[in-house]
Amino acid sequence: MNNNLKKINIYAIYLGAIILILPLIAFFINAFSFRWFYPQVIPKELSLQAWVRLKLIPKPGQRTFEGFIELWASNPAVIKALLNSLSIGFLVTIVSIIIALPAARVLGLLNFRFKKLIIFIMVSPTILPPIAFVLGLNINFISWGFSGNYFGVCLVHLVPIMPYVVLTMTGIFANYNPDFEHQARTLGANKTRTFLLITLPAIAPGIVVAALFAFLVSWSQYLLTFLIGAGKVMTLPLLVFSTASSGNPALTAAISIIFIFPAILILFFTSKFVSGESGATSGFGKI
């Protein structure tokens, strides 16, 4: 008697999955087709036209190893934006972890006055929208000379990233037993060795998750980069946005595919760690 209901249930899940995957299918059709006119569902001809126009794939006839190298060395806009996005993401991730590590340890292991208040202050950037602080900050950055350059963009990316890194790592330290460090120290290990051999291996999984989240938050930042970068620091989200508003679906789709690639990769690696209990998961809602 329950069998029919079960079947409907399962079909509903399949339908949901198909609906959810539709945009992704549309991305790939748009990026690899040429003259995909209404009402075709499946394009009549496949083409790499969009990728050629973005200077990511050489023109037919030049698709040799040297051809690719030569084209990419000519520094096309997408490669430039990709390198900017990557380097800002890496830099900001490393800096945020170094800054957050001691703070997370103190917050996770010790009890002291105003701890709750400090945690509340730390996570406040996750609650209020970025537009609330970046308009005012923009004016300050102009007068400090941080506007329109790489350094300023990195600095402003720290604001949305800091809360997640601190929160994730505080959670790790809350379950961490510092007694092992004391044992290592009494057995004669110095501070550096204790950190490298005892502390680091214990917190490494947490650091990896925090780092991936931090990178992803920086990677998908549009508004902050646009305002603080003042058009001089081009990253992938800026390129996606401007191409999308100018309305060329094939180019937009091709850049978007490059843009979402790391995101899907990161989901693969973190799906084990991602759960409702991790403080970092709330970060996903904000990307």
Binding site: P39, P129, L267
Partner: protein, 291 residues
């Protein structure tokens, strides 16, 4: 003890410094500017005229109040619908069936997807010459693209709502899955053995158990969708316009007086979100006290 205290202070200073100077500093400076204090153009007086202009002047009042209405509508509708879809998805997907792992992956696929990309995807699928319109014309439902309903760049914010549902349903889904997993099926089996039917098990067993997490996730999603810029900027129309887009456009206006109004708008958005969060904390604290 003195050494420990110093250690605490030294460890906490760097991240707090970033948050205070950049985040709170930015808000504070934005607030000053919204009061008309703009030394850059020689204005030092402090008043609330930017707030008054935005909310009540003949020029902007209509734009502001329709924008606020659109904001509330979009945030409520997308948060509620995303939560409902995710809840049913999470409940249904617990059973074993063919290709469960793939479905699970697809359901969480939008989680790391940037909002910007989701917005572009919504254009590709739901616009009048998008994938759905093509499918509809293939099976003879519509003729020309104009027959397909306007779902993207429409004045009711439907495209924006769709984008937020797409994205945030995955977020709710992950949170619900982990809650349901940690609960196990014991409660439900118990209720079933006591004679509870499907609806009763859902209404009186599952819903109360997942509600706290669902509610706190809803606050995050609501606050985000209320203040985010990218999605409404790509999928919205000029009128009515969501408040973050309006604030940003005021700010980029070459007329430096409009800058105060843009700042005032961004402060208003922040205040509304803050009221919401305080209300949420008050509600949960009240509940804890009651229990």
């Amino acid at each position: 003890m003195g050494g420990e205290r110093l250690k605490i202070i030294l460890s906490l200073t760097p991240p707090l410094l970033i948050i205070f100077t950049l985040f709170f500093g930015g808000i504070f400076y934005g607030f000053l500017q919204s009061l008309g204090y703009q030394p850059a153009i020689g204005k030092y007086e402090i008043n609330f005229s930017a707030y008054y202009n935005v909310m009540f002047s003949e020029r902007y009042a209509k734009l502001f109040w329709t924008g606020l209405g659109l904001n509330l509508w979009v945030s409520f509708a997308s948060t509620f619908l995303a939560a409902v879809f995710a809840l049913f998805g999470a409940l249904a997907i617990r059973k074993t069936f063919f290709a469960k792992t793939i479905c699970n992956f697809i359901y969480s696929l939008n989680l790391p997807m940037p909002h910007l990309v989701v917005a572009v995807g919504i254009i590709f699928v739901f616009s009048q010459s998008g994938l759905l319109a093509r499918l509809a014309s293939q099976i003879g439902l519509i003729g020309s693209p104009g027959d397909f309903p306007v779902l993207v760049k429409d004045k009711y914010g439907l495209g924006i709502i769709l984008a937020y549902i797409w994205k945030e349903a995955a977020f709710f889904f992950i949170i619900l899955m982990s809650v349901l997993q940690s609960l196990g099926e014991n409660f439900e089996e118990l209720a079933q053995s006591l004679g509870a039917n499907r609806w009763q098990r859902f209404r009186y067993v599952i819903l109360p158990l997942v509600m706290p997490n669902l509610f706190s996730a809803s606050i995050i999603v609501f606050a985000f969708s209320f203040g985010a810029y990218e999605v409404p900027a790509l999928l919205g129309v000029i009128y009515p316009q969501m408040l973050p887009v309006m604030a940003f456009e005021f700010f980029l206006n070459p007329d430096l007086n409009a800058r105060s109004e843009g700042m005032a708008l961004s402060i208003i958005i922040a205040i509304i979100v803050m009221i919401l969060v305080v209300f949420y904390f008050w509600l949960t604290q009240a509940k804890i006290r009651k229990d």
